[in-house]
Subunit: 300 residues, 2 copies
């Protein structure tokens, strides 16, 4: 399946996303289990058509070092649960006050604010419960390292800390360096962690883990620049959320600091660097190379 | 120190609370570490004069089975971080809309709603990071079991699920059985988990773990009944939060269902049952017996 020019990335993505969605369904309590209203709200956001980027990176990293997708599914699902909880909380009226997410009402618009806060909390804790209950590894210390890595990437050194700085930067003139630091933590940390824990569970050497982390950092930058560009050039229907919201919220973005053209070039350069970091990994890393190309060519 | 009639429970509590507070200080980023505003908000709620009940139960359980306090401090602190995150989120305007907690403005009154949501999230993830980074055990599988137990007790089968049902029960006539089920999950699950994981890390046999879980279930009931009673008979200053808020929010409580006198008797019976469950544990369980007595005799 993986070979020069004959690798079918679309089929790869579809297959792995199917595995992730089936596992998420297994690991998340059914809607008819008590308290049904809570499980319904959790599932509404978890199965809202997300692209499953973090689980896919985790799986592709494991495969790139000789592991298998099924080995890392609990951790891959935990990453998506953490990402989903952060979207639910970020959408709240007190934070970004967004009404739409992936073309549907946000959790608090659908279920009320109290339920949105609690459904986010429940997905957050379910992420760690899922790893602790279902993740297997030859050495249990690997599982503990995975939990530590994901908790750090989600916490004050990572995602939540980046979100706090992002809010503080609204309406404020910030440098390119500050912008990059915010994104490295708000979105980059969990993306990089996804690759790192996939590699760890796949049994990667330290050298390969480090290569995948460098790839992750660059893909994270490319991803964020393209997000910023799409917010300017796309429309509500394609994005599934209101376009132009960065300008409305007076957010610092790459297009605002560098212009659209330069931003586009920067995204391409980051994707190229990401692919360059994989040089030592051979054909098994082909999905990750395709992924980096996709990040800069996507329309949502 | 522990012996018939000569056990100084006040000195015991003060010493163990000091150890917990020092460890919480070590495990929580300093206020001057970036992002300072986030760490300041986390510490504001974490060091607000909480009684440290969950950490103390965890430590006392470990000691009751032959372990030591210092062996379980990371897990004891994680329990307090989870409890604190849940208080911050429950106080939010969309949930209980409380202005005061332990005699001070609640987190959202002090730092704004966005920061309160995010400080809660950061404490939630710091709990798991703290266990994964600092907790030691002879067998790493024990640490994973601790994480699983705490995640379950905090999630939809436990704390968050109980909170959802508690909100749904406002203004609704519910049975004593439903009331008990709500409290078993909203507060009881994490209390019982505190004892269970302390026992697990302390190296308890299955029989002793089971005895401590039975103790935990009964102490949880006693604790909740007394909470409900204090909300009726106490005043704002003693409680550190508005008294009478259950009646204001039309919440189902033990005094409302059974009257004050019967409720007081039920609390005493639950404390007696809790102490009874410890029969096989000997003198090492004396702090837990004192704790059960304190629960029914406290004034806040």
């Amino acid at each position: 399946m993986i070979g020069d020019g004959r690798f079918d990335f679309a089929a790869y993505l579809a297959d792995r996303a199917d595995q992730v969605n089936a596992a998420l369904d297994r690991f998340t309590p059914e809607e008819n289990i008590h308290p049904a209203s809570l499980h319904t709200a959790m599932r509404y956001s978890l199965f809202a058509g997300g692209k499953r980027i973090r689980p896919l990176l985790c799986i592709a990293a494991a495969e790139a070092v000789g592991g298998e997708a099924k080995q890392v599914l609990p951790t891959a699902c935990a990453l998506e649960m953490i990402h989903t909880f952060s979207l639910i909380h970020d959408d709240l009226p007190a934070i970004d006050n967004d009404d739409l997410r992936r073309g549907r009402p946000t959790a608090h618009r659908k279920f009320g604010e109290a339920m949105a806060v609690l459904a986010g909390d429940a997905l957050h804790t379910l992420a760690f419960a899922t790893i602790a209950r279902h993740q297997q590894a030859a050495d249990p210390l690997t599982i503990i390292a995975v939990i530590r890595e994901i908790a750090d990437a989600s916490g004050t050194p990572g995602m939540v800390g980046g979100q706090v700085d992002d809010i503080a930067a609204e309406g404020v003139a910030i440098s390119a360096e500050t912008l990059r630091s915010i994104h490295e933590r708000k979105t980059g940390a969990l993306l990089t962690a996804s690759l790192y824990v996939g590699a760890l569970l796949g049994g990667a050497s330290a050298g390969k883990r480090e290569a995948l982390q460098r790839y992750g950092a660059q893909v994270g930058v490319a991803f964020q620049i393209v997000d910023d560009i799409l917010d300017v050039v796309s429309d509500d229907v394609t994005l599934g959320k209101p376009a132009g919201s960065d300008a409305k919220n007076d957010k610092a973005t790459y297009p605002k600091l560098f212009g659209l053209e330069t931003s586009g070039r920067m995204a391409q350069e980051a994707a190229d660097s990401a692919i360059g970091a994989l040089a030592s990994l051979g054909e098994a890393a082909e999905p990750l190379r395709c992924f980096a190309r996709m990040v800069v060519n996507r329309d949502r």
